[in-house]
Structures are given as C-alpha cells and as structure tokens.
C-alpha cells in the first residue's frame, strides 16, 4: 500500500534519517516540515496523509501546539500521530498522548522501532 508520511522536525539530521529509515518501504512518500506551522500548511497541500511523525521541541510552532490545531480540524483529526520524544521531556510526551497521539518513539531511536510502530498503525 502507498503510505504518505508527514515528518515534522526542526533537525535536518532527523529528516535525513527518516529518508534513510523509510527507504525500505517501496510505496512511501515522505513529506517534510521544519516546524508545526509548516506542517499545518503541508497538511493543506497534501491529500491523504497516512501518518504524522511529530517532534515536540520546535521553533515557530511546537509539536503540542500543532497537535492541538490538528485535533480541532475535522479533516485532520483522524490522522494518526507518532510523537518523537527526547530524554528529559517525558511530560510533553504524556501530554501529547493525552491529546490523541497514537504512540511515541524516543530519540535516539532505531530503524526497527520506527518500522514496527509505523506498521502497527498503517499496516504491514
């Protein structure tokens, strides 16, 4: 199946890693955004996003603010969100999960962790 994944992170390194990690999926389109605001714009431009990988700590609009806005939009609120958290920000992860995120991965994560979570949510 075709997967369209929106990756939101302010680190170019992380985006490069997503590219690397997701290259195993043949039918996968990766859309990148550097912050929540850009991600929100991308949601408007791209149809049928299957999954959002969301960093919390970002400039302009952070992950939690983004999540809040997504939850308010009927068109987007059912898109599953995976929170990418970092050591020391556990409380933010919990807030995100309470706000409706479907799961989380902690940096530094391995490709296999990401794969299993993606497959659990979007199917193999």
């Amino acid at each position: 199946m075709l997967r369209k994944i929106l990756a939101v992170d302010d680190s170019a390194l992380i985006h490069q890693m997503y590219k690397l990690f997701l290259s195993r999926y043949k039918n996968c389109k990766l859309v990148s955004a550097m912050n929540g605001l850009e991600a929100f714009d991308k949601l408007g431009q791209e149809e049928n996003v299957d999954l959002i990988l969301l960093d919390i700590n970002m400039p302009v609009m952070n992950g939690l603010e983004f999540l809040q806005r997504v939850q308010k939009e009927a068109a987007y609120k059912d898109i599953p969100v995976i929170i990418i958290s970092t050591e020391g920000k556990e409380e933010d992860t919990i807030r995100g999960l309470k706000m409706g995120a479907r799961g989380y991965v902690k940096k530094p994560f391995q490709a296999s962790e990401l794969h299993s979570l993606i497959e659990k949510i979007t199917g193999p």
Partner: protein, 563 residues
C-alpha cells in the same frame, strides 16, 4: 548501531551542531555582558535540546549526555534555582569549548569520541550547588506572551531566525552546476559565431536562428547569475565565532576588549567564506595582542579602559570590503623601519613614507611582536594573511595613527569562481592574468631591456622593473620582432614585468577545477578556463611569479576543485 552513520549524516549533524554551539557561545557572552536574563537563558534551551537529540541519533553518547546536563543547568538557571555568576559562567565557557572540541573530533575522519567526564563533573558540581532552594529572583527582562509550551517562547527569543522551507544542497553540486554553466557560456559564444555565418548564407532562416541564439544567451546569463546568487552566504557565518575568540584572548592577556560587528548580512560566495576565517582570526589576534593596550595603560593615555574592535563588511560594486579597526596603540612607522632594516627587508638609505613603511609589516619574515606571547607572536607574521589574501585574489592594506589605532582593509572578490582576466598571447598559447594584479600594460622595444644581476629588467618611467619572459618560463617560442608587450603586475609595492606577444583584452571567465586540467607542479598556474573555440587557457598565479618558486597549483585551483 543498526544503521551505518554515513559521511553525509555526519556532515549534516556537524553543520547543525556548529549552529547550535554558536548559539550557546552567544548566549554565554550575553549573560556575561548583560547579567542573568531569563529570556536569554531560555533561548539556548531549544538548540541544546535539538543537539542532544541529534547527538543521540548518530551514536555520540557522551556528547548527548553532556548536553543533557547542560540543558539541566540552563533549565535551573532559567527557573532562578541556579545563579549564573562569574564563576559558573567561566565553567560554562570551558564546557562550551570542551563540547565544541568533542563534536569536531567526533566528526573528523577518525570519528574519535572524546571523554567528557571532567566537563560532566564540573556541571554536576554546579548542579549540586544549586540544589539549595531558589536563589534571588531574576529580572524577567521582556514581557512574555502566554504560550502553550515554554520551548516556543524559548525559541522565539532573539537568537536564531526561524527556519523556513529550505532545501539543503551539497556545495559540490552547486560547483558542478556552475562549471556546467561555464561550459554552456563557452559553447554559446561558438553557437553565436556559427549562427552569424549561417545567417549570412541562409537569409530565410537566418533572423530566426539569430533570435533563438539570442534567447539562449539571455537565459544562460540569467542561469549563471542565479547560481552565483545561490552560492552566496552572509559573512555572519565567519563573524559569529569572533565574539568568543575576542573574549578569550582578552581574558588571557588581562585586557578589556569589546568587539563590534557590522554588516554581517553582507553576502559572499561560499568559497570565499571558507577561506576568510583564517586570515581574519590572525588579524583579530594581532589586534588584541599588539593593538589594544592593557586597561592601566589605556587609562594612563586618557582612553577608556575597554578597547574597541570594529569588524565590518560591506559590498562595494563587485567586491566586498572588510575592515578591522582597533583603537589601540597603532603601529609606529619608525620602529617598523628599524626592524625592517634589521631583517634586511629595507636597505640602508632607502626612504619610505610612513604609509609605505607600514606596509612592510606584511613582508615575509617581519613580525612586530617584541616579545613572544602565546597569542600571535609565534614567529608567524602577517605574511600568512597576505598569502591567504593572494589565494583569494584580494588586497590588504593597513593604515595607522600612532597612539590612536590601526585599520586593516581587505578587498575581496564576491566570488572565486568567476574572475576578470587580461588575456595575452605568448607564442601560440593564450594565457590569462587576473585583472586585479595588472598595474598597466605597455609596448616596449626589446633593445630597451637591461641585464642586471643576471636577469632582464625594464625601465618603466622612474622604476626599474624585473622582467620575466613568459615564453621562456613555459618553454614556448615567443614571436620574433623588435617590439613586444609588457604587462606590469603588482603585489603590494613590488612590480614585475611580463613579456607577452599580444594583448587580447579583458573578460570574465569561469575558473575550472584545475586538477583535471594540468598537473600539480606547474609553474605559476592558478587555474584554467576554456575559450569559445575549446582551447584551454591557463590563468597565471601572479604571487608565485614574484616568488619565482615552482608553485604548487594550489590557490584558486584548489578552491575551485574543493568548493
């Protein structure tokens, strides 16, 4: 690690880490200068958090752990539970240096991970001291908007502009693009010639063909300009490390120096940016070391105890002018003359104006340091700077007012990829001379050459100029006849005459990566370009002609190849 951390990932990581570390330095400097401010402290948390995440992702555990501690320190400081006073700041400055060192080492070819245990322990000690309940409240300097998360507010602070939708491109690809455009322009000239010939024979299709060629011309010119623009970066990328450098140098020497930066957004080709750091570091070290006086001496001289260094950049037509001004002791022309005499750089009885004498500090073997300090007086003089400037095709000049200060002016080309050259014929070959080095060109009679000390010289008005026959130098046969042309090139006050058979005129050329064109030990060659008829033209390295040495084909050739 389940995946291989590729060189590409490491370079992305390093580039980001340098930015994050620059924010750390900037925040520390501001805290030292302005005292503890909540908004300033908070502004470093976002970059540190990203650095921590990134370090973990590429398997740099020690760095990740250290940054985590740093985050804790700044977090507590922001909450008022830890005072970032002189002592604590000193430790943080040291920590920032150790961290930078560890990051650079980890990203260098050996990928060696440094042990940060000592630095960790220093932070742990800071944190331990802070476990006492909240200290004095801190001024919250700016009214803060209510935001959902504190990160948003942290990042919104003045430190870094928000990143927009930017695409990262390997610079080598841009270089390749520029080379391709260079070729396109070369072929365009050929196409233009052909089109004119064809138009003359085929009156029907002629005008249309010429029109089409004209459009290709205009599009390729725009393409070239656009690529040049994409390669430009603000000089901020070089300047941003200097506040920290100046602070450390001033501290080492018990001096007080304020660095003022201007025109940081002035844009220059990245290849120039990459070459600019080293000479500027040298000039700044020199200014703090020899220029700015100690606070006591400054007071005695009726100056403010804190010296000022002004580093500014501005674009002036097709070059960038960078000036470094200090309000220090200035350079004493008399002692420069004396030293130059001692070092044999000046002959007894030779007279120089003060302004001319000052330029002697750029000569090889001249060092103004009267005592060897561990800063700039390591036997390395400003000639190192001059050599960098030559690589950059740039000019450097010094002006000084004894007792009041010194000003260094650097005139740099906007780009190294395209230079203006004077094309000359030597026998059957065409050579190019960088226009910046050409002082004048003139026709001379071969019988006017005078042999002195085993080499030819030419009298040009009141000067005797040493002469080099390019045909001989490159093992070519020069044209016969009584007259030829001389191109007089300059380097500082020095002049050198080059004999050529014919002058072809000036034009802008795209420098090709040299390694592909000629071998590395070519005499006096700085690069190459290609003419419309496909001929390779070598660009002469004027600096090495002066030194008369077999120059490695370094300089611009290397820059063009690496960039």
């Amino acid at each position: 690690m389940e995946f291989e951390v590729s060189a590409e990932l490491v370079s992305i990581y390093l580039e980001d880490a340098r930015e994050q570390l620059a924010v750390l330095d900037e925040v520390l400097l501001r805290l030292e200068k302005e005292g503890p401010r909540q908004d300033v402290i908070a502004s470093v948390l976002g970059p540190l958090h990203t650095l921590k995440g990134n370090s973990g992702m590429i398997g740099l555990g020690a760095i990740k752990d250290y940054v985590h501690r740093l985050e804790e320190v700044f977090g507590r400081a922001r909450d008022g539970a830890l005072a970032l006073d002189g002592e604590a700041l000193d430790r943080l400055f040291e920590g920032a240096t150790a961290l930078r060192d560890a990051v650079e080492t980890a990203c260098a070819p050996g990928r060696e991970q440094k042990d940060l245990a000592a630095a960790q322990a220093a932070l742990a000690a800071l944190l331990a001291e802070s476990s006492a309940p909240a200290g004095r409240p801190m001024p919250a300097a700016q009214p803060q908007p209510a935001r959902a998360g504190d990160e948003a507010q942290a990042d919104a602070a003045a430190v870094g502009p928000a990143r927009s939708s930017v695409v990262r491109v390997d610079f080598a690809k841009l270089d390749h693009l520029l080379n391709l455009v260079g070729e396109l322009i070369v072929h365009r000239t050929k196409l233009d010639d052909l089109a004119r010939k064809i138009a003359a024979v085929l009156p029907g299709a002629g005008p249309e063909l010429l029109e089409a060629v004209h459009q290709v011309e205009s599009a390729s010119t725009q393409l070239q300009e656009t690529i040049m623009d994409v390669r430009m970066l603000p000089v901020r990328h070089v300047f941003e490390r200097f506040p920290r450098l100046v602070r450390d140098l001033a501290r080492q020497q018990g001096k007080r120096v304020e660095l003022v930066l201007q025109g940081e957004e002035t844009r220059v080709d990245k290849a120039v940016i990459d070459e600019l750091g080293e000479p500027l570091v040298h000039l700044i070290r020199n200014a703090v070391d020899h220029g700015i006086e100690t606070p006591a001496l400054r007071k005695a001289r009726g100056k403010s105890p804190t010296g000022t260094l002004l580093l500014s950049a501005a674009q002036e037509s097709n070059q960038v002018v960078i000036t470094l001004i200090d309000d220090g002791a200035g350079i004493d022309a008399a002692s420069v003359r004396k030293k130059a005499l001692e070092r044999g750089l000046l002959r007894e009885g030779e007279t120089l104006s003060d302004r001319e004498a000052i330029q002697l500090i750029f000569q090889e073997g001249f060092s103004t340091a009267s005592a060897v300090t561990d800063v700039s007086g390591r036997g390395v003089g400003l000639d190192v700077v001059v050599r960098s400037m030559e690589r950059l095709n740039a000019l450097i000049e010094a002006e000084t007012i004894p007792g009041a200060g010194t000003k260094f002016t650097l005139q740099l080309p906007l780009t190294l990829a395209i230079i203006s050259v004077l094309m000359v014929d030597v026998g059957e070959e065409v050579y190019a001379l960088p226009s910046g080095a050409v002082v004048e060109s003139l026709r001379y009679a071969k019988r006017d050459l005078v042999r002195m000390n085993g080499r030819d010289t030419l009298r040009v008005r009141d000067r005797i100029v040493p002469f080099v026959h390019l045909a001989e130098l490159f093992g070519r046969r020069g044209a016969e006849g009584d007259h030829a042309y001389a191109v007089i090139v300059g380097r500082g006050e020095k002049r050198l005459g080059l004999s050529v058979d014919r002058l072809r005129g000036q034009q802008d050329v795209v420098i090709k990566a040299l390694d592909a064109v000629v071998s590395n030990d070519s005499v006096g060659i700085a690069g190459a370009t290609i003419l419309g008829d496909g001929r390779v033209v070598l660009i002469l390295d004027v600096g090495s002609l002066f030194e008369g040495r077999r120059a490695r084909a370094s300089g611009r050739g290397r820059v063009a190849a690496e960039a």
